[in-house]
Every structure is written in structure tokens, then in C-alpha cells.
């Protein structure tokens, strides 16, 4: 029951609200295209003399930002792939296979997604350092994200798969297919919308993670964009134009993903909230 049209007063108010809402971004955008000279003269909030796009190249190339970017990709993409594979398998088991302990397993996954990370911090650090020897490797960070996000992801896939009709699965069982075959040929093709939604959410969350990158990666050249940007701010102290440009660059991938796949994103958030 949404309104189909609104008067001009509404749109004036809406526009004012929008401007107020995005004013922090607009402020950073404006500062990011100013020259250092202009800032030193104290002309922060005037229209720029010229658009100093070279701030972006400086931020991206000269400070190793591009390396952080690659690191983020190296950590995020395999993690997302792994989580999608494991959670859809596990979600299918929880959704369509009846076995004792099914509810307990489900609750374990659900409980895990609400945990404060601090309860995991020290042991995971210890695990990476002394047991798996993955400390200060991107693999270690990737493994952690894969493991941790399985909670939400399995819950999510399980909810989606539950809604799939039992009939086709039963028919395949009667035909004598193994469960693995059923999963691969009957269920998996139907999972595309759920996998797309989940993938956009997972990509954003893992890409944007700060705490675990801080804990599990020491060497600067291995850091992803989040801790990398935070580091660079120390280098760029009082260089607000570079800080702003860096923040805008770091924001681009998730924003781009969101712009292209907004429907999937929204569906993921609203579906994943559980029924």
C-alpha cells in the first residue's frame, strides 16, 4: 500500500533529508579533489579551484594502496567461494535431511553469528600462530572468515532450501539417486538467487572487516584495504585531501557491487533475517 505519487512539498523535504544524510560523504568528496595549497590556505569548504584528481592517483599508486586492494581480493574471493560451497551443502542437510541433532547443529550455527568477536580473539590468534602457522598470511585470514561466516551462511541457505518443494527431491530419491547427486543436479540449480544474495552480503562483510585483519596480519604489504587505509592515515596525517581520497577509493568496490546487485543485497538482508 505504497503511495504512488507525492506533492512537491514532499520532494523538497525528501531532497533536504537526502542532502543532510549524505553530507559527510559530500564533505569528503569535496576535500578529496582539493589541492594541498588550497587546504593550507584554509579554503576548505569553498568550491575547488580545479578538480585535483591527481590526489586519487597519489593515494592509489604511490602509497601502495593498490597492493592493499589486491590483498583484499585475495582474501575475500576465495572465502566467499568456500562459504557458498560449504553452506549450501550444510544448509541442504539441515533443510531436507532428517536426522537427530539437526536442531542442535542449527542452533550452533545461529548462536555463532551473534557472538562478540572478542571471545574468539585470543584462541584464533593462538591457533594461527602456534598450531596452523598461518599467522601473518592472507590464507590465515581467509580461513578464519570462511569458518566464522559459516554460521550465518548455513542458516541462510537452510532457510532458503527449506522453502523448496519436497516433491522433486522425493522423485529423485525414488529414482535411486544418491543424496550427493540429488544435491548437485536437483537442488543446486535452484539455489542461484540465494547464492547471489548471500555472495553479495559475504563479499561486503569480509571486504569491510577491520578487526581480524588487524589481529591476523602484521606485514604491511599483506594488509587488506581496511587496515591498510587506517595505516595510511598515520602517514597522511594532516593531509586531509589524501585521507579523503583514500576513503573514497576504499568505498568504491562495495558501493559498485551494491549499485549493480542491489536487489540481491536487499533480498539477502531481508531473507537472512530468518523467518
Amino acid at each position: 500500500m505504497e503511495a504512488k505519487s507525492r506533492g512537491p512539498l514532499y520532494w523538497i523535504l525528501a531532497t533536504l533529508l537526502l542532502l543532510a544524510w549524505i553530507s559527510p560523504i559530500l564533505a569528503s568528496l569535496l576535500t578529496s579533489v582539493k589541492t594541498l595549497d588550497e587546504l593550507n590556505q584554509g579554503r576548505y569548504w569553498t568550491w575547488p579551484e580545479r578538480l585535483a584528481w591527481e590526489n586519487y592517483t597519489t593515494a592509489f599508486i604511490q602509497s601502495g594502496f593498490s597492493r592493499y586492494f589486491v590483498n583484499s581480493l585475495v582474501v575475500t574471493l576465495p572465502a566467499v567461494a568456500g562459504i557458498l560451497a560449504l553452506s549450501s551443502l550444510g544448509g541442504y542437510a539441515l533443510a531436507k535431511l532428517r536426522f537427530r541433532g539437526s536442531t542442535a547443529v542449527l542452533l550452533t550455527f545461529v548462536g555463532g553469528m551473534l557472538l562478540p568477536f572478542q571471545i574468539l580473539l585470543i584462541p584464533v590468534f593462538y591457533l594461527s600462530n602456534n598450531v596452523l602457522h598461518t599467522y601473518d598470511t592472507r590464507l590465515g585470514l581467509m580461513l578464519f572468515h570462511t569458518a566464522f561466516q559459516l554460521g550465518f551462511a548455513t542458516f541462510f541457505m537452510r532457510n532458503f532450501i527449506r522453502a523448496l518443494p519436497d516433491g522433486i527431491i522425493e522423485a529423485a530419491r525414488i529414482d535411486g539417486c544418491s543424496e550427493l547427486r540429488i544435491y548437485r543436479t536437483v537442488v543446486l540449480p535452484l539455489l542461484r538467487p540465494a547464492l547471489a544474495a548471500l555472495a553479495t552480503l559475504l563479499f561486503t562483510w569480509i571486504w569491510n572487516d577491520f578487526l581480524w585483519a588487524l589481529i591476523l596480519l602484521q606485514t604491511d604489504t599483506l594488509k587488506p584495504i581496511t587496515s591498510g587505509l587506517q595505516n595510511l592515515k598515520g602517514q597522511w596525517i594532516a593531509s586531509y585531501h589524501l585521507q579523503s581520497a583514500g576513503a573514497m577509493i576504499a568505498a568504491i568496490p562495495p558501493v559498485l557491487l551494491f549499485a549493480l546487485l542491489q536487489k540481491h543485497f536487499i533480498r539477502g538482508l531481508t531473507m537472512g533475517s530468518g523467518k
Binding site: 535431511l97 557472538l115 562478540p116 572478542q118 569458518a147 542491489q262 538482508l269
Partner: protein, 304 residues
């Protein structure tokens, strides 16, 4: 067919779940137990063994870390701040609801506006922290500039929100509320789309005013969305770390510190792993109330 159908199901299920459960047990389940154990030790992060406090030094209580915590002023400041977060961060849910109601309009332009409102939700908190840190910057920031232009601030005053002992937490909560309100807006908009038309149309025919309709029909019907919003918001308030670390590092002088950051500082900056573990356990215990509530709700949805 080997074995009965139930057996077949059981075998397949555990096979499918095995890799997930293995990773999960390794990185999530055992760590919880390990942290609880560590909170009773004095581990320095390096030694290969970590005996409980009362074993290593019989003159000291096993729960010495917790006793020290009780006497630690910074702990209580952090706890107080988390309580402030619980209360005020929740206001962002109302903002989200308000925005959802306002923009519950079906048009291309409205969709464009909505997309822009959603955008903060996808930013990394490092980006949010950088953007808001600059926005609220004491000497040159836009807020300070506008306040001076509007003559709210005198020319010699400074708007040092984040550097103020009393108001730093407020600045942090406002910055955190920005992406969170966007998230709540998404959830509520979805909830609004699912509202049952016939009830609303019947109410309109009955001549119910718009405000009454919102208060007495729409909001109660949004309860499922509200439950999610409340739980996610409260969990978020308890485990907040990124923005505090990035914008104030808990300062000035720990006045804006929160349990999650304090735990990190004690563990990795002061090398007091046992003490940090104790803080983590306290944080976990407080969160447990919410986690159990959510699990109960999930289990009810299953039919027991």
C-alpha cells in the same frame, strides 16, 4: 539401497556437514572454551603452558583476573559506555523506521533516493570513521564550519566533539548510527512491503487517521522486523569496536573506551592475555542473554 532411509539421511547429513562443522568447531566453538579457560590464567601470549592462577601462585585466587577487573576503573567506564551505546545506538532503529515510512513510495525517483540512503550500509567502518572523523574535525571540519557560520560557535571556540571527555561517545554513536539506520531502513521497508493490504484498506475505509493507522496498525504489524532490528542493534552496541578504535582509540583518556576495545588493548598492547580473556568472557556473558533469546525464537520457529 543400503540401509533404511533414515540411516541414509543420517549418513549423508553428517557427511555434508562435516567440513563446515570441522572449521566451525576449530575457529568458533573451541575458542569459546579456550578463552574461558584463559581468563583464569596469566598467560603472556608466548609461553607454551598457561596454568591457572591459583596453581601457578597458591597465594592468589583462581579468579584473580575477575577480582582485578572489578577494581579496574577503566573497566567500569567501558561498561558504562557500552550501556550508553545500548540505549542511544537503539535510536538509530527509530530513524530507520521513520525513513522507511517516509520513503515507502513506489516510483523510480523514490527508488533512486532510497538507494542513496542505503549506501552508508556498505561502507567499511574504516571509511565511516574516516569520513565522520573529518566531518566532525575540531578545526576545519564541515560541522564546525557550519556552526561558526550560523554563529552557534564563536570565532575562538572549537567544536571538539571527539576530543571531549563527556561527548566523545556521543560523536561515536552518531557516526555508528549512520550505517545502522540505513540497515534498519532496509529491514523496515521490506516489512512494510509485506503488510497485508486488506487490513490497511479496511482501516482507511473506516476513516482511521494516518497517524492512528501508523501507531496502532502498521507498527504492531512490523513486529517481526522489529524483533530482528532490536536484537541486531543490541548485539551491535555490545560488540562495537571498529569505530571506537579508529576515531578515538578509546580516548581521550579512556573516556570513550568500550569493552571490546579495552579487551584488545589489554591483550595485544599490554600483553595481559589472561586479563583480556576475562574481559572477553564478561562481554560474552552479557551478550549471552540476547543470544539465548534469539535461539529460543529460532527454536520456536522450528516447532520445538
Amino acid at each position: 539401497m543400503a540401509g533404511s532411509s533414515a540411516q541414509r539421511d543420517k549418513r549423508a547429513a553428517w557427511l555434508f556437514l562435516a567440513p563446515s562443522l570441522f572449521l566451525y568447531a576449530l575457529y568458533v566453538l573451541f575458542p569459546i572454551l579456550f578463552t574461558i579457560y584463559l581468563s583464569f590464567t596469566n598467560w603472556d601470549g608466548v609461553s607454551l603452558s598457561a596454568p591457572p592462577l591459583c596453581v601457578a601462585d597458591p597465594t592468589v585466587s583462581c579468579a584473580q583476573n575477575y577480582i582485578d577487573l572489578w577494581n579496574d576503573d577503566v573497566f567500569w567506564v567501558a561498561l558504562k559506555n557500552n550501556a550508553l551505546w545500548l540505549v542511544f545506538f537503539s535510536l538509530s532503529a527509530f530513524v530507520g523506521l521513520g525513513l522507511a515510512l517516509f520513503f515507502h513510495v513506489k516510483s523510480r525517483v523514490a527508488s533512486f533516493y532510497k538507494s542513496l540512503f542505503f549506501m552508508p550500509m556498505v561502507f567499511s567502518l574504516v571509511v565511516v570513521g574516516t569520513v565522520w572523523g573529518w566531518f566532525l574535525q575540531p578545526e576545519f571540519g564541515l560541522v564546525e564550519f557550519l556552526l561558526k557560520k550560523a554563529h552557534v560557535l564563536g570565532p575562538d571556540d572549537q567544536f571538539g566533539l571527539l576530543a571531549d571527555f563527556q561527548w566523545a561517545t556521543a560523536g561515536l554513536i552518531v557516526a555508528a548510527a549512520w550505517p545502522h539506520a540505513a540497515y534498519c531502513m532496509v529491514l523496515y521497508l521490506a516489512g512494510l512491503s509485506n503488510l497485508q493490504k486488506n487490513v490497511l484498506e479496511a482501516a482507511l475505509i473506516d476513516g482511521v487517521s494516518k497517524w492512528q493507522m501508523i501507531r496502532h496498525i502498521v507498527v504492531p504489524m512490523l513486529r517481526p522486523a522489529t524483533v530482528i532490528v532490536v536484537i541486531v542493534t543490541m548485539i551491535g552496541a555490545l560488540r562495537t569496536f571498529d569505530l571506537v578504535a579508529i576515531m578515538t582509540a578509546g580516548g581521550p583518556a579512556n573516556s570513550s573506551n568500550v569493552l571490546a576495545l579495552y579487551m584488545y588493548q589489554q591483550t595485544f598492547e599490554s600483553n595481559r592475555y589472561g586479563y583480556g580473556a576475562a574481559i572477553a568472557v564478561v562481554l560474552f556473558a552479557v551478550s549471552l542473554v540476547l543470544i539465548i533469546a534469539y535461539l529460543r525464537k529460532t527454536r520456536e520457529g522450528e516447532g520445538g
